[in-house]
C-alpha cells in the first residue's frame, strides 16, 4: 500500500493525500501527527492563495464581448440551391441575349412606343443629315476659281522660259 514511514508520511504518501487518494493509514496518521498535518495545510494555504490571487487577476482582465453568429444557419442544402438558382437565372439571361431578334416587333406597347420614337428620331436624323449634305454640296466659290488659278497641268519649264524671254 502507501509507504508510510515509522514516524511521518513519506513524500509519496503526502502527495496521495494532497490529490485525494490518501490511504486510510495515511489519514489515520494525519489525525495524530501535527507535523504532517502542518505540511498538508502549508501546501493547501499556498496553493489556495495562488488560486485566489490568480482568479482575481483573471477577473480584472478586460473582457471582450462574445460575438455570436447573427442567426442560425439553415439546412446545408440552401447555399447549393441558391447557387443553382443563380446559375439558372444567368443561363436564361444568356439565352435571351443570344436569341434576341431586333426585327421582331415587341408586343409590349411601351416597348413599341420606344421603338416608334426611335424610328421617328432616326428619320429626323436622316433628314438633318440630308440637309447638311445639300448645304455642303451647293456651288460655293472654290479657291481655285476665286483666285483664277488653273487646275490644268503646268506647262513645260522650257516653254515657260521662252515666254519670259519674250
Amino acid at each position: 500500500m502507501k509507504p508510510v514511514t515509522s514516524e511521518h508520511l513519506s513524500e509519496e504518501a503526502l502527495d496521495d493525500v494532497l490529490i485525494g487518494l490518501g490511504s486510510p493509514e495515511a489519514e489515520a496518521h494525519l489525525a495524530v501527527c501535527e507535523l504532517c498535518r502542518h505540511q498538508i495545510k502549508g501546501f493547501q494555504s499556498g496553493v489556495g492563495a495562488f488560486n485566489q490571487a490568480s482568479l482575481a487577476w483573471s477577473e480584472s482582465k478586460p473582457r471582450t464581448s462574445l460575438q455570436l453568429p447573427a442567426a442560425k444557419a439553415g439546412p446545408a442544402w440552401i447555399p447549393q440551391l441558391t447557387w443553382a438558382m443563380g446559375a439558372v437565372v444567368l443561363l436564361l439571361i444568356g439565352a435571351s441575349v443570344w436569341n434576341h431578334n431586333p426585327a421582331v416587333v415587341p408586343e409590349n406597347p411601351a416597348v413599341a412606343l420606344v421603338q416608334a420614337d426611335s424610328e421617328t428620331q432616326i428619320a429626323e436624323d436622316n433628314d438633318l443629315l440630308k440637309s447638311i449634305n445639300a448645304a455642303l454640296s451647293e456651288s460655293e466659290a472654290s479657291p481655285v476659281q476665286q483666285y483664277g488659278l488653273s487646275d490644268q497641268p503646268r506647262p513645260h519649264r522650257r516653254a515657260r522660259r521662252e515666254s519670259r524671254s519674250r
Binding site: 513524500e11 509519496e12 499556498g46 490571487a53 471582450t64
Partner: protein, 204 residues
C-alpha cells in the same frame, strides 16, 4: 468509464483520440449553457487563469477563453451533465489550446513575443481578508513563489497541476481531459509536487 467530454467533431476541432468520444444518453435540460453571457460571467476568469498558466501566455488566454465559450455555446446540445460544466469547459479549453499551440503562426509569434506572466502583478490581487499585514505579505510571497515554480515545470506537469489544484478536477477527469492514462496523470502530479516541494521548501 463514462465520459463527459465534448466531441471534437461536434465542436469543429481536430480529433485527439479515443478519449474524446462521448456517451450521450440523458436528454439535455435547460442549463446555464443556454445563456452565453451568464456562461462567460461564471467561467471566463477560470478559463483565462487556466490557459494563462498552462501556456504562460496571458494574451493567448483571452483568445482561447473566448473561443472555448463560443464553442461550448454552439455545442451545448452535446452536454449531457455527466460532469460539471467547469470540467466540460476545461476539456474544450485544453483541446482549443492544443490546436492553437500547433499552429505555425503561434510558434512564430511566441518567438517574437517576450511578455509573460507578471507574478508581482498577480500577487497584488490577493485579497487582504482578515489576516494580519505580516500574514498577508507572506501569502503574497507564496503566490509569487508558486507562480514562479509553475513556470519551471514541463507543460504536462504544469497543466496537470493546474487541473488538479486550481480547477479541482479529479484524477479520472484529468485523465479524460488530457487523454492520458491515470498512472501518467499521477506521475505528472507527483513530479510537479516534488518540484514544488524542493523549490519552495518550508514555505509551503
Amino acid at each position: 468509464m463514462a465520459t463527459c467530454l465534448p466531441s471534437t467533431l461536434d465542436l469543429g476541432m481536430v480529433p485527439l483520440g479515443e478519449t474524446n468520444s462521448i456517451v450521450m444518453e440523458k436528454p439535455r435540460v435547460h442549463t446555464e449553457l443556454d445563456d452565453i453571457d451568464s456562461l462567460a460571467h461564471t467561467y471566463r476568469a477560470r478559463l483565462v487563469r487556466f490557459v494563462t498558466y498552462s501556456t504562460g501566455d496571458p494574451d493567448l488566454a483571452e483568445t482561447i477563453a473566448q473561443d472555448t465559450l463560443l464553442r461550448a455555446y454552439n455545442g451545448r446540445e452535446t452536454f449531457r451533465g455527466e460532469c460539471s460544466i467547469n470540467t466540460w469547459l476545461t476539456g474544450i479549453a485544453v483541446n482549443v489550446t492544443r490546436d492553437h499551440l500547433r499552429t505555425e503562426r503561434y510558434k512564430f509569434w511566441k518567438q517574437v513575443k517576450t511578455r509573460g506572466i507578471d507574478v508581482q502583478e498577480v500577487a497584488s490581487f490577493l485579497a487582504a481578508d482578515a489576516s494580519s499585514p505580516e500574514d498577508h505579505v507572506l501569502a503574497r510571497e507564496k503566490v509569487k513563489r508558486v507562480s514562479q515554480v509553475l513556470e519551471t515545470l514541463s507543460h504536462n506537469q504544469r497543466t496537470v497541476f493546474l487541473l488538479k489544484f486550481s480547477e479541482d478536477l479529479s484524477v479520472n477527469e484529468i485523465s479524460e481531459v488530457l487523454g492520458m492514462s491515470i498512472n501518467t496523470v499521477r506521475t505528472h502530479i507527483h513530479r510537479a509536487l516534488k518540484v514544488m516541494r524542493s523549490e519552495l521548501g518550508a514555505e509551503i
